[in-house]
Symmetry: C2
Subunit: 288 residues, 2 copies
């Protein structure tokens, strides 16, 4: 595996790989099994696998956790190597943003819900850095986890609206035995918060069970999910919401199509998100 | 030459041309020698030449000339054929914009001057359609005329800020014998306006002559250029401005670097633009 730290070096390297089927896994590093599952899938389906590690300042708000976002480059390098990555691209801020951008990008409409509401400008930063990375790497396929279902939906829109010649692959959320979704931010939980945090997924499963049992009313389901989080955690609920998926449009009165239940809970030093996507019978949808 | 009218047909065709050096000339059609000079240059420097004809609704304001922008498809097809174009791509609005865009693009800062000020949103539409066309066509080189020097500068920013793997080529403004810059919009001039319009370039030449003669003061030069347009035409001056080029930053006090003098004049049914780019000695810069 090659570790490449500059755009010019990356371009030279990729010029030699023209015509190869290229799979790309964009990340912010601090790898866990969620990331490596994407690398594994990319390895299976492509000639060349590129993973990027870039904690993109443009997608963090002024009061967010850019500085304390966890980083461990040497471990990332080891893990990428063991999961078949060919090129690990770790650019610097100054190479990615050498000057004030004069062309800016904005992710509209669906970003006024879920994380878009709590994190204004977040998805603008996401689509900007992805556009840059897509243009630099020119992948055939890109891989994202469905843990951030809204991000997945925004990337889907980015590719469709701007005609990027890229196939988007969404892979299942990877969970600990306890059900807690793997996240780089879990390291910022206190010990007691970590045991509480399993209730995020438990509450989603309770919501799913209600749908399996025939409950059709979104409000009843969300009420029970919220109640469970409030009862069992010290975290503050940012949102518990249900939308039709992938449209991310409100569920009007009754659950009749595929939906997502998405939650975000703020703990003392970590904001966690989780979701499940199920069809109208409650069956889990894992790959998109 | 193939005429292709759908994105899916275009993609199938280009899939067969992978690895070829591709030159792209994006246009709004109604070809004149300005356009064909770009096709000629693209023909010389590439294996495959793609030209697009698309009057992009997104770059026209509600009170602008989208409807009366001149169109002549059969003549465009003939001219493209005679200038070595391999693929003429003429998409429909509904194929280019099948739904409301959820990802939008914005061209900042330099668009608050010149045409950006008189045509708010214009360059947003330009960068959006170009991003779509770049992603659809994946050219190695793109060709633009320097008649719209501000557009050229915006495209340069688009490519640099978002890392498009594309080389930008700027070619000289093509003029009639009279000096009038070739423009699709010239057809919307009345006969008397057409004879007046030659004073746009005459006034720019007068400005250039002042610089050759040692005049360093931007205000004096612009005063004389304006005066000449007012005296000799019935048009209304939209702007006469001087900027350092390509930065498009104000010339502070004295002309000491390469500059552009850019003008826009509104006639009864046509808004014309023209410019010259010269160095501090007044020497014309023709290719960028």
């Amino acid at each position: 595996m090659e570790v490449i730290r500059t755009i010019s070096e990356l371009k030279n390297r990729l010029a030699k790989a023209k015509g190869k089927q290229l799979g790309f896994v964009p990340t912010m590093g601090y790898f866990h099994e969620g990331h490596t599952s994407l690398m594994d899938a990319a390895r299976k389906e492509n000639d060349l696998v590129v993973t990027s590690v870039f904690v993109n300042p443009l997608q963090f708000g002024p009061n967010e956790d850019f500085e304390k976002y966890p980083r461990d480059e040497s471990q990332d390098i080891q893990m990428a190597k063991h999961h078949g990555v060919d090129i690990l691209f770790i650019p610097t801020n100054s190479d990615m943003y050498p000057r004030k951008m004069t062309i800016t990008m904005h992710a509209e409409s669906i970003t006024s819900i879920l994380c878009g509401r709590s994190r204004p400008g977040h998805f603008d930063g996401v689509v900007t850095v992805l556009t840059k990375l897509f243009n630099l790497i020119e992948p055939n396929k890109v891989y994202f986890g469905l843990k951030d279902a809204q991000q997945f939906s925004v990337v889907d829109n980015l590719i469709k609206d701007l005609n990027f010649p890229i196939q988007l692959v969404g892979l299942p959320t990877i969970r600990e035995m306890s059900g807690l979704a793997k996240s780089s931010r879990n390291v910022n939980l206190t010990d007691s918060e970590r045991s509480e945090a399993i209730w995020l997924y438990k509450s989603l499963q309770a919501g799913q069970q209600l749908i399996i049992d025939g409950e059709k009313c979104p409000d009843k389901i969300m009420h029970i999910v919220k109640d469970m989080i409030i009862t069992h955690t010290t975290g503050t609920i940012d949102y518990v919401e249900m939308y039709r998926y992938p449209e991310l449009q409100p569920v009007t009165s009754q659950i009749e199509t595929q939906i997502i239940i998405a939650i975000a809970v703020q703990f003392s030093h970590a904001r966690l998100i989780d979701n499940i996507i199920v069809d109208q019978t409650g069956m889990l949808i894992e790959r998109i």
